[in-house]
């Protein structure tokens, strides 16, 4: 306890001199309390005629009692805007509810200045419920209204900024979609007797992905080259790398007919372009295919890319191992591994990026993995490229937010010969 406070109850009222001081203060008359209250008071008849008003409000407005009492209506004290608001909102509400609090209005002083106020009114009724008069208190709200205006202004600014940000985001989305499309072939070329299908899943509408693929003729529509890969990272840097990779592989394929040589060229180009503390690399599978009779011979080379999958026309699916192939663009003497495969009618070769195998599934969010992909494809066998890619697209969609990376799919196959077809040919 604070010893200086004195008195047994701690209020200080125990001391005779303090008590006397309070008494002197409380002689403040009710009349003076009304007239000099720190807020405006007024009473009006039910038609709004002012019957009584305190000195505080008269002082604020610069009016005399004689000018106001019996001569003015409450709404005469308001700005025209305030008057309209009073007539359309304030007065009806007060009539219906008998009480109304905290309404923002603007009064007009005798000098013409605007006085923002907060008004509270109560209807006094007779014993039998007949409304007699309206009692109103008026608080100076200059500071508060300035603050509120600032809040409103800030809200408008925030709303405009948000609208602008949304518009910018939309423009960015459109620009990125165009850019992303430019990194992929507009359409795959038609290859007689061969069916192809592709799909690109974009993980984020505002981030450029780093997967790529292409398929194009190298000479006389007899031989076709193709590739599919995944550059490190995402965003504009990845897109630049993708662009360089794609055009390098295209140009290389026109010169060399060996996929391993093509990967070496890409390796050299990337090492040359990305030096020092900004190494950039990719994984890729590059292939060359040539039609011979009823089959297609494919020569594939891989640099650090997941193995291609062959879905057989007579059922089953198998990976083409290219184990040992190294990342492209990481080391000067990188090793790449190649493999040959012959596709027969009904067989489909699938190239894919690791978005699909690294998708998270199930309650434990486990990796989807290579075994599951193989089983999924085998379950569809025999499946042509279109059917296989459509089924995989559905699978990707089913992953939902478990799929957070871009995914590219490219499938090449020979249509199966149906029995009727064989008969017709016979």
């Amino acid at each position: 306890m604070n010893p200086a406070a004195g008195g047994s109850d701690g209020s200080g009222m125990g001391l005779p001199s303090t008590r006397a001081a309070f008494s002197a203060l409380l002689e403040d008359s009710a009349e003076d309390l009304y007239e000099s209250a720190p807020c405006g008071y007024l009473s009006t008849l039910m038609d709004g005629t002012i019957a009584k008003v305190n000195a505080t409000l008269l002082g604020w407005l610069g009016l005399t009692r004689d000018e106001v009492v019996g001569r003015m209506h409450f709404s005469d004290l308001l700005t025209v805007g305030g008057k309209l608001y009073h007539e359309t909102h304030f007065a009806p509400l007060l009539r219906m509810q008998g009480h109304l609090g905290g309404i923002a209005l603007d009064m007009r002083t005798a000098q013409g200045a605007k006085l923002p106020v907060l008004v509270t009114s109560t209807v006094k009724t007779s014993d039998d419920g007949e409304p007699l008069l309206i009692r109103t208190t008026v608080f100076d709200a200059t500071d508060r209204r300035a603050y509120e205006r600032e809040l409103l202004r800030a809200r408008r600014v925030a709303e405009e900024a948000r609208a602008q940000a949304e518009a910018d985001r939309e423009r960015l989305r459109e620009a990125l979609a165009v850019l992303q499309q430019s990194l992929l072939p507009a359409a795959l070329p038609h290859i007689p007797g061969v069916e192809t299908a592709c799909h690109y899943h974009t993980a984020s509408p505002i981030e450029l992905g780093g997967d790529f693929y292409d398929l194009f003729p190298v000479d006389d529509d007899k031989r076709f080259a193709f590739f599919l890969g995944d550059v490190c990272g995402k965003g504009p840097q990845a897109a630049a790398l993708t662009s360089l990779t794609r055009y390098t592989l295209r140009a290389a394929a026109l010169h060399a007919s060996d996929p391993v040589a093509n990967l070496r060229i890409l390796n050299t180009v990337l090492l040359d372009r990305y030096t020092g503390d900004d190494p950039r690399y990719c994984t890729a599978v590059v292939g060359l295919m040539e039609r011979s009779g009823n089959t297609v011979d494919v020569h594939l080379a891989s640099g650090g890319h997941p193995p291609a999958l062959v879905v057989r026309g007579d059922g089953g699916a198998e990976y083409l191992s290219t184990r040992g192939g190294m990342l492209v663009g990481a080391l000067p003497d990188a090793q790449f591994v190649d493999v040959h495969v012959r596709l027969r009618p009904g067989d489909t070769l699938l190239l894919y990026t690791d978005g699909i195998t690294e998708a998270r599934t199930g309650p434990d969010r486990e990796l989807y993995g290579y075994e599951a992909l193989e089983a999924f494809a085998a379950g569809l066998a025999p499946a042509g490229p279109r059917r296989l890619v459509d089924a995989l697209t559905g699978l990707l969609r089913g992953f939902g937010d478990g799929l957070d990376d871009d995914t590219a799919l490219l499938a090449i196959g020979l249509p199966a010969r149906t029995d009727t077809e064989s008969e017709n040919q016979a």
């Binding site: 039910m46 038609d47 709004g48 209506h73 709404s75 700005t79 025209v80 805007g81 305030g82 008057k83 309209l84 608001y85 009073h86 007539e87 359309t88 909102h89 007065a91 009806p92 509400l93 009539r95 219906m96 509810q97 009480h99 109304l100 309404i103 923002a104 209005l105 603007d106 923002p116 209204r145 509120e148 205006r149 809040l151 409103l152």
Partner: protein, 268 residues
């Protein structure tokens, strides 16, 4: 959504009586009529509704374009009349709804047979040779007043206005809710109300028309009442011993009896 729900239509009174449709003005909703409804319901079938955007109407049906002209509000009135398949009804329009009534009657004369205009004004802004009582700056000031009283709207009022049937206590806590409107909607209604010029339409009114005005009205002064009276051929003007812009609240008995005797004259 049915028009019934969209416009929160309520029908009361004597089913065999002539139908009186009560259309609220800018500011509040059909509650504006609560003091005259019981008196009118004794002899008449009374139809109450809220314009889309006001009161308990379906706010999702509100479209800025439609409700930026008085024709949009008139379509609400006509659609309410069609919903109830009204014939030869009396349309009582308060304030801006008096002018909406003129447009609605022109669009559906078989449904709306006569008009009662409560405190009408065909144009609020002063012009050479016409005194509406206000300047364009005054209207801007009103819009500002609206703004400052709607600061808390989105946070506190919206859930109430949107309707919370499972939490009725909300409606009671926020007693001012029936005059609360989404600020965007109120701004459009205020602009449409105070900036529309319907003077030209008055001369074409052929329906029996009663004009009710107050002795003192800050929004529709008596010279405006006289203007409307002289512009509508054969109209009847009654000046109520009331002040303010809402005689249906400040002088409900006089308002109801003026409407009733006008309707009684129609029957003769």
């Amino acid at each position: 959504m049915s028009i019934q729900r969209r416009n929160n239509i309520r029908v009361s009174g004597r089913t065999s009586g002539r139908t009186v449709v009560l259309a609220h003005g800018f500011g509040c909703d059909q509650n504006m009529w609560r003091l005259v409804e019981p008196a009118l319901a004794k002899d008449h079938r009374v139809v109450l509704f809220d314009y889309v955007g006001a009161g308990r109407s379906d706010l999702s049906a509100w479209q800025e374009e439609r409700y930026s002209s008085l024709e949009g509000y008139a379509r609400d009135v006509v659609e309410v009349c069609e919903e109830l398949d009204l014939r030869d009804a009396v349309l009582v329009g308060h304030s801006v709804s008096a002018m909406v009534g003129v447009l609605a009657r022109a669009a559906a004369p078989e449904r709306i047979g006569s008009l009662v205009m409560v405190c009408p004004s065909p144009y609020y802004i002063d012009e050479d040779g016409y005194r509406g009582g206000f300047t364009a700056e005054d209207i801007d000031e009103l819009l500002e007043s609206l703004e400052s009283n709607y600061l808390g709207w989105s946070a506190a009022m919206a859930p109430v206005i949107m309707g919370n049937p499972d939490r009725p206590e909300l409606g009671e806590e926020l007693a001012n809710s029936f005059c609360a409107t989404d600020p965007d909607i109120a701004r459009v209604f205020a602009r449409t109300t105070f900036l529309s010029d319907s003077r030209k339409e008055l001369a074409d009114v052929t329906a029996p028309t009663l004009i009710l005005e107050c002795e003192q009205d800050a929004i529709a002064p008596r010279e405006v009442g006289a203007y409307v009276h002289s512009a509508i051929p054969g109209s009847e003007l009654v000046t109520l011993a009331a002040t303010g812009h809402c005689p249906q609240l400040s002088a409900p008995e006089a308002t109801a009896s003026a409407i009733s005797s006008f309707v009684a004259d129609l029957e003769r």
